[in-house]
């Protein structure tokens, strides 16, 4: 190889490196801009009073978003309670029965479910639950959100279980273990970190969903703990406040957005941290 080719190769290598770094940097700029913009406008309105007090009636200045924070945690919590067990079971099925035709069909359906726009899922929940009950309710919001979370839990469970070495499973079979205990005592514990991470990503995803809640959980001025009644949530409150004509509400929408971003970011970071710490 002559010197010229080598020089050209070294130059090309450098060029590629520069491109990779440049574009990875460019891609995170919007994220930083969003966080910066929201923080700058929202952070000054956040204080304990804003977090722990109820909204003031329309037209009055001040008040907090306590009911929306509580509502978000309840609705997302119930959604997670629905999506996690079902998601794990389906994930186990997909990774354990790879050869079956039916598995392929389930896989395609899960992918499709993931691709359905969240507003459509909201409409379905409205038709199935809100209309028959003749009432907006927190539980209908939870169910809609659980549909969005489900594919995330299924996929992360399936992926992490595929990583469990065959040798480990065979060792369990060779000891005469029944299948259900192999799943419970060997497979799921081996994949627990991955499943947890997937679950956390799912939770942080649905925490910010607004569209499925518009005509399910609906929103509520007051603090409500009854799952069968309308309940306020942070994203819904942001939607209502941001589209209102009041300056004070606009500011509160930014403050609520800041809180939402902080919650979602910390859940994601916690998931990352767990993944690093417990990875085998």
């Amino acid at each position: 190889m002559n010197e010229k080719t080598i020089k050209r190769r070294i130059f090309n290598n450098k060029l590629y490196k520069i491109f990779v770094f440049l574009f990875s940097f460019l891609s995170i700029i919007p994220l930083f801009l969003i966080i910066y913009f929201v923080l700058i406008r929202g952070i000054k309105y956040i204080n304990l009073k804003f977090i722990f007090s109820m909204p003031k009636p329309m037209g009055e200045i001040g008040g907090g978003i306590f009911n929306a924070i509580v509502g978000s945690f309840i609705i997302v919590g119930v959604a997670a309670l629905i999506a996690i067990p079902i998601g794990i079971i389906v994930g186990v099925f997909l990774s354990e029965y790879k050869e079956k035709k039916y598995t392929e069909i389930v896989k395609i359906l899960v992918d499709t479910l993931q691709g359905i726009p969240s507003i459509v899922i909201g409409i379905i929940a409205y038709l199935w639950i809100v209309k028959p009950l003749r009432q907006f309710s927190a539980i209908s919001g939870s169910i809609a959100l659980s549909f969005i979370m489900l594919p995330l839990v299924i996929k992360s469970t399936e992926e992490v279980l595929n990583l469990v070495p065959v040798e480990i499973k065979e060792a369990a079979y060779a000891l005469g273990a029944p299948y259900h205990r192999i799943v419970l005592k060997i497979l799921l514990p081996s994949g627990s970190v991955g499943i947890l991470t997937g679950t956390l990503i799912g939770i942080s995803r649905i925490l910010g969903e607004t569209a499925p809640l518009l005509f399910t959980a609906f929103g509520n001025q007051f603090l409500n703990l009854n799952l069968l009644k309308p309940m306020n949530t942070i994203p819904y409150l942001i939607y209502v406040y941001a589209t209102s004509p009041y300056k004070d509400w606009h500011n509160q929408a930014f403050a609520a957005s800041t809180i939402l971003i902080i919650i979602v970011l910390s859940i994601n970071l916690f998931g990352r941290f767990m993944e690093k710490k417990w990875k085998m």
């Binding site: 060792a171 005469g176 514990p189």
Partner: protein
């Protein structure tokens, strides 16, 4: 006088349409070490996986013929029970990564949902680890993860895990192929020591190992049992030309 514990009669094993064991007839004697010897792809591993019925877990796998454990047809018993009576140690050490050393030893009981008192558990753990020669090395760290041990120690942990179920037969599938020479010789000594309490079937392609540890050897080639006999006799005066060629390194 040798006691037959396991009798394999006209065994054929298949993966899909591929026949990997051809009409195998073999007797395994109680409290002896029997080596299944042969080059890669001769069906050694398939044979022992038929004995503890792991073979049937592979897609498309099936067998014809009979395997009798003390006169009882293994294929008429629940596979879970067969596998508790016939323990197995694999090529690569595979302790359960989420379990402590202690739990790994009694994993067979945990996984089968057999309830044991604290004293029973302690006793089984200590006995099994003493038998597998690991007790002195790990007695201070029983509640650490098994995956922190060295490869050789992990393999002895796997042997302890198999012995804890008090199996009648112990199947060893090339147990030293992933280990260094020192760890290998420790395990070979252990195999000889274990003869007192358990019948061992050892799969290996290592002629030296077969010579060092086994009483009987069965030589397999391309899915067929070529020759079976006392190891000392077979290694000095092989009856078959194929065996001789393998022993002197012409095939393999």
């Amino acid at each position: 006088m040798e006691n037959v514990i396991l009798k394999i009669i006209n065994l054929n094993a298949y993966y899909g349409s591929q026949k990997v064991l051809k009409n195998v007839n073999l007797e395994i004697y109680e409290n002896r070490v029997t080596t299944i010897l042969g080059p890669s792809g001769c069906g050694k591993t398939t044979l022992i996986r038929c004995i503890n019925r792991l073979h049937e877990l592979s897609p498309g796998a099936r067998i014809e013929g009979q395997i009798l454990l003390k006169g009882e047809d293994l294929y008429q018993i629940e596979p879970m029970i067969v596998r508790q009576k016939i323990g197995m140690v694999f090529q690569k050490p595979n302790p359960f990564p989420t379990m402590t050393i202690y739990d790994n030893v009694i994993a067979g009981y945990i996984l089968s949902g057999i309830k044991l008192s604290k004293e029973e558990k302690d006793k089984i753990v200590e006995e099994s680890l003493i038998k597998s020669g690991l007790w002195d090395e790990v007695k201070e760290s029983l509640f650490k993860k098994g995956t922190f041990l060295s490869g050789g120690q992990q393999q002895r942990l796997c042997i302890a895990r198999a012995l804890a179920m008090k199996p009648e037969i112990l199947l060893l599938d090339e147990p030293t192929s992933a280990l260094d020479p020192v760890a290998t010789s420790i395990i070979e000594e252990l195999i000889i020591e274990l003869k007192k309490s358990v019948t061992t079937v050892l799969v290996t392609h290592n002629i030296g190992q077969a010579g060092r540890v086994s009483d009987y050897t069965a030589f397999f080639y391309l899915g067929e049992l070529i020759e079976f006999g006392k190891t000392t006799e077979m290694f000095t005066v092989p009856k078959s030309k194929k065996t001789e060629e393998y022993l002197i390194g012409k095939i393999g």
